[in-house]
């Protein structure tokens, strides 16, 4: 069964410039089909339409055209019913009460989700233990660190065991350890059956949480496949790391960019679309007494940077 389905979903924002009205097409005919239990990264540069899409899927915004269903409900028509079945985490927007102790705010959110007393207690206790929040329950939210606050945000969004979890930049501003904790928790929610719909600029979030990536640019979906395919298809570059038995001089092969040179090692980069891999490797093997050689795809961060810099859409 599909958890999220959209057809030609679009959103136009009207802007006034002087006396003139201007239309800005933020989301343009987006078609999505996401199965229950999937973990999807929805990525794209700032202003691509990611947050606007999430806000339509959670019923916050009404679309200008097209249709959408989340768990069989039209979000903007059945907003409250849908909210009982989904969880949302907006990295830049807190659902916790800033001045109240974090434990009180969890109890209040349990009431917002209509959880009966005993269930609210057991579920809260379970999440408090899972996120190691015991010592922080009596601390006002304003006094929590960003990482601690995000742990509470995600715990709060999981209180009612949502079937779909929408995460908009859940690790923004977190340190490495806090990011790892958040990712682990989201993976665990996914293992428990929750569908994950994640937007993030962080390659680590995408690689560790999602198996599928959907890339949106200027309001349109430009890529929808596995995360591994994203890396391969978007950048046709290959990275070659070579370890030689003798001291090396950088090679002068047209089309091959030397990224790093050490006494016995080289890191090279070239486009597999312009130069066949076997040709480059052949020349390297001829030239150097190779001790070890690895060929890899570029890191996902390079792919994301390429997308954001507007490099060509893969075929």
């Amino acid at each position: 069964m599909l958890a999220v389905q959209t057809e030609r979903l679009a959103k136009v924002f009207e802007r006034r410039k002087g006396r003139q009205r201007q239309s800005h097409l933020a989301v343009d005919s987006v078609d999505l089909a996401i199965d229950q239990g999937e973990a999807v990264a929805f990525i794209g540069p700032n202003g691509a339409g990611k947050s606007t899409t999430i806000k339509m899927l959670t019923g916050i915004l009404h679309p200008s055209a097209g249709s959408a269903e989340v768990l069989g409900l039209v979000p903007w028509k059945s907003r409250q019913r849908l909210a009982l079945q989904i969880g949302t985490v907006f990295g830049q927007r807190s659902q916790l009460w800033f001045h109240l102790p974090a434990g009180d705010t969890l109890r209040l959110l349990a009431a917002i989700y209509d959880l009966p007393g005993p269930l609210a207690k057991s579920r809260t206790a379970e999440l408090v233990e899972r996120f190691a929040l015991q010592d922080l329950l009596s601390v006002p939210v304003r006094k929590l660190s960003l990482g601690q606050r995000m742990r509470f945000e995600i715990a709060a969004s999981l209180l009612h065991k949502p079937k779909v979890l929408f995460l908009d930049e859940p690790t923004v501003g977190l340190d490495v350890i806090a990011k790892a904790e958040v990712r682990e928790v989201v993976r665990e929610a996914n293992r428990d059956g929750a569908t994950i719909f994640l937007t993030s600029h962080d390659a680590g979030d995408i690689e560790s949480i999602a198996r599928r990536a959907i890339v949106i640019d200027r309001g349109r979906i430009v890529f929808d496949d596995k995360v591994s395919q994203l890396r391969r298809q978007w950048l046709t570059d290959k990275v070659v790391e070579l370890r030689s038995e003798e001291e090396v001089e950088p090679p002068d092969i047209p089309g091959v960019h030397v990224e790093k040179v050490s006494r016995y090692g080289l890191r090279l980069r070239f486009s597999a679309q312009d130069l066949p891999v076997r040709q480059v490797i052949g020349q390297l093997l001829e030239r150097y007494p190779v001790h070890d050689i690895t060929i890899s795809d570029p890191p996902l961060e390079s792919v994301i940077a390429a997308i954001y810099q507007g490099q060509a859409v893969p075929k």
């Binding site: 959670t58 009404h62 903007w76 907003r79 909210a83 800033f98 109240l100 009431a111 917002i112 989700y113």
Partner: protein, 263 residues
Amino acid sequence: MSTADRILFWPRLLLSALRAQAAYRGAFVLSIAAMVLNDGVWLVFWWLYFSRFPVVHGWRLTDIAALWAIGATAIGLTHGLLGNLPRLAQLIMQGELDVYLSLPKSALPHLLLSRVHVANLGDVVFGPMVFLLLLHPTPARTGLFLLAVLLSAAIFFAFTLIVHTTTFYLGRADLLAEQVSISMVTFSTYPSPIFQGALRVLLFTVLPAGFIDTMPISVLRAPDPRFIAATAGFAVLLNALALLFWHRGLRRYESGNLFQARL
């Protein structure tokens, strides 16, 4: 969760909002005391005025005291306990409704009861205090006072909601909403007979402060069933219009991406 629990959620939310603001106890108490003092100074001003001119268009000092008791309590309820009401234009403009729209509760009561405005809580203290100390409360008069407060609060609430929800339609209406709300409060603190002609028409239509100005005479001193019925009818209509504005406006809500905390 039972229906009773669902109903009790709203006072519980309000209590949490109060606790959140009372986190800084000293500032909380001082803000309330300052508003009580501010309202008190106005009453002293009217006392000085009426000591020179005991009757103005049939109004006496007790009528002015009643007007302040009713108006302050009504404003305290709508702007103090529903602390996000006077900030609504700003919340809409800055895209701060997202939190309320992403949770499974009705967004309007949820956002209104999520914050108290401490200074206006002083009005909730001041109004009943004036009634109890200066206006000879009997059970019947207390009932009439509560009725006047209820009608005034309903009009203040609907009017404020309408002017703030214009933000959905105009894009930016926070300054307009603030100015118009201040005018409404200002015109609600003077005896109604001093306004005549076109201004009087305005005060019973576009800027309905006239209904509130008339409460001390037509509800408290000499209850007029026709006035009470007309005011109740107007309040119901105005509230229906306000809710229509709100729900229609939500379709035009544009959200935003500012960093936000729930204060």
